[in-house]
Amino acid sequence: MCIGTPAIILDVDYGNMTATVDYGDGVPRSVLIGISEEKVKRGDIVVVHAGVVVSRMSEDEILEQIRFFKEALGEEFVSIASTYISLLEKSRVIKGNEV
């Protein structure tokens, strides 16, 4: 039993350790927060398994992943990595204007 689905956090109820997420279809659904609540805030991308948030997979983590691939695979991956890094930068700038 390992299958997990990525989702975005729309809202968090820290007192009850539940959150409302969107799996990408626009329908808000409730989940339990299984991990530390500091890792979960509105806008974070998380992995949900059987209705439980088990991991955060936001920008920092994605960059980590890209870095790992670059180390493990070398030049083959560089071209693909640059596309994601530039998109992530754009996303950061837009999110940065949020607060």
């Binding site: 039993m1 990525p6 806008g43 398994h49 059987a50 209705g51 088990v54 991991s55 890209i66 999110k95």
Partner: protein, 429 residues
Amino acid sequence: MYRSLEVSVKLWHVFNLLSKVVFVVASRVGVYLGFKVFRELESALRYDRELASAIVKKIGEYWELCRRAVWEEKLKVMDFCGTHEWTITHYGIRGLVPEGLELVAGPGCPVCVTPSHYVEELLKLALDGLVIYAYGDVYRLRAHKDVRGARSLSDARALGADVRVVPDILTAIRDAVKHGKPSVFAGIGFETVAPGYAQAILKAHLPGNLKLLSLVKLTPPAMFYSLEVSREKPIEPPIMGVIAPGHVSTITGAKAWEPVAENYEIPVVVSGFEPVDVLISILEILKQLVRGEHKVTIEYVRAVTWHGDLSAQNSIMRVFEVIDDAWRGIGFLPKSGLRLRERYKKHDAFYEYGISELKAGGENDMPAGCRCAEIVLGKAYPSQCPLFLKTCTPQKPVGPCMVSSEGTCAIWAKYGSRELLVRLAHELK
């Protein structure tokens, strides 16, 4: 003048509303752009053939070096998660890796290893009138013994029992609150579900009428056992690498597998679930074997850390105690199961309904001829079971390995045409 003031006030409200909408949309765009990037990364890991081919080529190169380094012509790499087995089978990864590198499935399916005894207990409760909440595959899981005409929860429902299939415990909770009738949630799963169950208890989500039947199992003891068992048969290719479960590791941390790497001196790679993730993990294993290393490496760095989530580990330890638990077809494994602690007995179905635990030395609870127990340990392939795709099919499963979507037999039956052809060719030789 009064009218123009009214108009300008209205205009101001409209402008205010519009700016709020723009703000919300822009911030959502930022959030969704981040999600879009993430989706594209996952998409590349699933569909990028150039990337996959580059990795497969590297695997071929390292395989040649590896064979010379470890003095083996054949070796096995074992996965411990039904979803990894699914990815390997569905994307035809066995066809991409070199001949001699065998990818074999280990115990990665919690439904497959839940003893029949607990299914029988659930059937009794269902037929006694309780509302039973179960995951989809638990619903079809067949017990070894007939209980008042029912062999599975789906049979029980056909006989009039109130059995409800739910995707998660929160759905069960919300439903139970609505009707208030005595209910039990069949809490099957590995460490990945445990923090959710723990939060349901710690944050008092469980209503008084819904009790938890904790049947959670722990993966590391199963990994140890499978590797021990594989050493008993020296004629088989040795297991020289492990693809460790990705989502269990988000909770336990990659550190949970360190005793395995140290004791058995084999590389362990915590892998993601996209096909490229698995290919890179296989490459990592071969690289380590060539360098003579046996470490735990995380490939799935976007979701897994070395320590895992300490908060989750804490809540699990607060709510649950570790017990020696029975694994269907295998027997008792020390410190391999979770039960609710004494102080939470008011939520415990074991306590509330006097459900008995399985005693050691119980009889074999697999159907006659079914080789699920061996398949779960990687000692046999589904095609080697006499019932496979003859009497035991995904539509009418006999053994547990065929019932669950994470079961090796179900996966091979639905997606493993290549696997079946290869095994057939092997047997005909």
